[in-house]
Symmetry: C2
């Protein structure tokens, strides 16, 4: 089993602010786990007694609405932490986490990490910064949901994934999402998402290779009205 103090993944999240000693201690009680594509890591209402550090793979955070649709609120990728919010408030999970890939996770029990949160102020300030960033993104999503068209939201989603998670060698988005996932991010019907993507294709803004999407005209996508 890998050691936290040597793990490069921590560079990407708040764990980097822990001391060598703290990391060694955490390393001793963490558990590694593999989850398969489609597996649910936790669901709404679950009591999370720890946080996950994503070593590899991607997952979605979503919430089932009363109309039966699953709204995706955030995409969590390699390097991110998972479940911090519930850890901090002590509430059960507000969202469901579902693997979009095969994933490799490290689970750190609450008892270990809460001490560090209370004693290592650099660490807690880092967590605070991440949370503040998530809150800003969430606020921006609210504004987009309320004020922009499906067409604009979908264009922005494609750009967001491109800018934040990068592309494969062939130029396609490295995060592979189904049309349903796109619909659930944008908050629209699957048919509408597909229709708009087809339209983007016709307009030469994107190309699709199977379900993979490649941006052809980033400036054009940004200008979508």
């Amino acid at each position: 089993m890998g050691k936290c103090e040597q793990c490069i993944i921590k560079q990407f999240n708040a764990l980097k602010s822990l001391s060598k000693e703290e990391l060694v201690r955490i390393s001793g009680c963490k558990t590694s786990m593999i989850v398969k594509k489609g597996d649910v890591i936790f669901e709404e209402g679950d009591a999370l007694n720890g946080v996950y550090c994503v070593k590899d793979g991607i997952c979605k955070l979503s919430k089932l609405s009363s109309n039966g649709k699953d709204q995706i609120v955030k995409i969590v990728v390699k390097g991110d932490l998972l479940g911090q919010r519930s850890l901090i408030t002590g509430e059960t999970a507000n969202l469901q986490a579902t693997a979009l890939n095969d994933m490799e996770l490290c689970f750190i029990p609450k008892s270990e990490i809460v001490n560090d949160l209370l004693n290592n102020s650099k660490f807690s300030f880092d967590v605070l910064k991440e949370m503040a960033h998530d809150l800003k993104e969430a606020d921006d999503i609210i504004v987009n949901m309320a004020q922009k068209t499906v067409r604009q939201r979908l264009a922005e989603t494609i750009i967001y994934i491109h800018d934040n998670f990068g592309t494969n060698p062939d130029g396609t988005l490295s995060v592979l999402l189904s049309r349903e996932d796109f619909a659930n991010i944008v908050g629209t019907a699957v048919e509408s998402a597909i229709r708009v993507l087809s339209q983007f294709k016709k307009e030469g803004l994107i190309t699709t290779i199977g379900k993979r999407i490649k941006i052809n005209n980033l400036e054009g996508l940004k200008r979508v009205e």
Copy 2:
């Protein structure tokens, strides 16, 4: 000028976790201010060099969308802190804060409070908890925006204001919002908000006294489909 260490308002926010000494120090450098209804406390892009503690009154946090509409993201009331997010990330404000009432605010300069954030872990953990709570609320709003009708969102907004900010002696919501504010919370056109409120009246769910709103049938409002 009032003293922070004696101020009862701090009971309602993270400042309660500061020590007597820290509060005395803050008290020495804070500035009190009065803002009038409609005044903008800060706007998107402003560099905030401190946080505000709301001693009295109410304000809205909103963001101007590209379509010219102002989406309200959060209502901030007496007892709340204002501007923490920007303080923590060091970014400029992402939202605009506008007074809905005459307000009384205390401004605490960044230089003072950041030290406490880094040194008093109980305080920073409290701020973290508040931020985590805000994030949960924001996630829930995203889901509602994406998946619910204007009718449902407006019903939930009325219930939210009722439950979180209370009522006047006559039973009307104590937070007085214009129809435009309601529209900007729900993310709809003013006319649509007015239409739905009229409908709620016809159905006996609410009564209006001038622009004030009174819930007549809370259970009915909760059941709105």
